[in-house]
């Protein structure tokens, strides 16, 4: 598959969404709402439950299933409230020593007047800032689209997993082609150049694991094993290692 086909495939509307992963991986899931500041963003779903026998806080960016559901979830493009809800739940997880599990699938943070005026930039920045020292393990898994800052805001994690057919990118290939060559039809060339596939990102050490298509039960076992491993690391060491993980990106490439 060409890189651009991976992008198109990641956008297919019959793919499993964050809700499917939560249903498949997390038992006894209870959804919680609201950012306690302004509202409840439907693009971000979150709550608590178990992965195997491990209590977790789980957060996902949900695109929705059918047309109405997609509109309800704003097509998986979060407003600032979404990121603030995610951060609120993470802080709660920190308090109760639960690991955090994020399923990321978004074309990008929502671009709108309201989103801008309620501080989309600040909301994303603040997530990166707070997650960098969150005193509990964080595992993020990219399950479809990883659209720029909007996806990154849930990926400042101890480990980043990625579906083999997902993508994670600084800019959509179409916008990239438009900016560079004033031609959105060259998106496939842009997609190649941007190195956005799981394989290419893994080769550069930007993600930690490529996940194949496996039954949800098996995925749950793998996630639980990883979370137990992370839970055993003393908190100070965990955050130091998280700092080092991102610190090393980009200079000694």
């Amino acid at each position: 598959m060409k890189d651009y086909d991976i992008v198109l495939n990641a956008r297919r509307d019959d793919r499993l969404t964050a809700g499917d992963y939560i249903k498949g991986v997390v038992s006894n899931f209870i959804e919680f709402h609201g950012d306690r500041l302004y509202g409840d963003d439907k693009a971000v779903i979150g709550g608590i439950g178990y992965v195997g026998n491990t209590p977790v806080t789980v957060i996902g960016i949900e695109k929705g299933k059918d047309v109405n559901d997609r509109i309800y979830h704003n097509f998986g493009s979060a407003n600032p409230e979404g990121y603030r809800k995610a951060l609120r739940l993470m802080k709660q997880a920190e308090k109760f020593h639960r690991p955090v599990l994020c399923f990321v699938d978004t074309a990008g943070a929502f671009c709108g007047v309201d989103a801008e005026e309620r501080g989309q930039g600040r909301a994303i920045a603040h997530n990166l800032y707070e997650m960098s020292t969150l005193k509990t393990p964080i595992l993020s898994m990219l399950i479809g689209e990883g659209g720029s800052g909007g996806a990154l805001a849930l990926c400042h994690s101890d480990v980043i997993w990625m579906k083999h057919d997902a993508y994670f990118c600084v800019v959509s290939p179409e916008s990239c082609a438009n900016i560079l060559w004033k031609n959105t039809k060259k998106a496939d060339e842009a997609a190649d150049a941007l190195a956005l596939t799981a394989k290419k990102l893994y080769e550069r050490g930007l993600i930690d694991k490529i996940c194949e298509d496996i039954p949800m039960k098996k995925l749950a076992t793998q996630i639980e094993e990883q979370l137990i491993k992370l839970n055993k690391i003393p908190v100070g060491k965990l955050t130091d290692e998280r700092y080092a993980k991102f610190r090393n990106i980009g200079y000694d490439y």
Binding site: A109, F110, C111, G112, V113, A115, E116, E117, R118, G119, Q120, G121, R122, I124, A125, H126, L128, Y129, E130, S132, T133, S148, G149, L152, A153, C155, H156, F168, C169, V170, V171, C176, I179, L180, E189, A193, L194, A195, L196, L201, R204, L206, R242, Y243, F246, R247, I249, G250, Y251, Y253
Partner: protein, 274 residues
Amino acid sequence: MKFNSLFLKANNELEGSPRNTRKVTCKKCNTANAVSKIRKNYFVCPECGAYFSVRARRRILMLTDKRSFIEHDAGLCSRNILNFPEYDKKLSDAMERSRENEGVICGVGEIGKIKVCIFAMDSYFMMGSMGAIVGEKITRLFEFATKKSLPVIGVTVSGGARMQEGMISLMQMSKVSAAVKKHSDAGNLYINLLTNPTTGGVMASFAMLSDITLAEPGARLGFAGPRVVEKTLNAPLPKNFQRAERVLECGFVDKIVPRNVQKETIEKILRIHS
């Protein structure tokens, strides 16, 4: 850096020899004024008050005490990590055009005799976009400031993450934000001055993480590009959208500071914290 550029001054029309008698036309009011006059007026048009963009080195000169600035990591240059098409040429063009090695200048200096770490971004270098080296330089500055317990003064101007470096540049947002957090947790002060334009990945990371956030009048400050927002909205944008004055109304800026009082304002804030 190209060999001959070592001997040339920056080619911003407002930079160059101080004896320059050339005139520069303001894009807003179309009045031509002598470069020296505009310079004395803090790079603000003496006729209509429009702001000219200011290069990074000039910014640092304008904010720090005379001869106090010492640059850090001046030699770090970007490479075309991903073999991205046309990036090599873009980089060498940017170096030639800006006479700089990268889009940010970092170092230590003094403001009113108070020692600070300072960084300023340069819009003449690929629109101040953040690649691995920009991220690295700012991260190193924050780490240095944390080690030495120094305040950090930032001046941001950026189009966002540099797409030619793919995810490596996006993840600089995480890297710098984490360094800002460490600096903050150690009880140090970070003041950032937002200038026109600060957008995208820079806005969504360290530009919005300062203890005290200042902005230049009229600066465009936002996450998404205005054209993208207009397209989603399918209607004209409200007046003042993403302008510093509106962003202050929305609660994301502490104070709008005109150029002629920026140094004294920062100095005052520093003094209260020292």
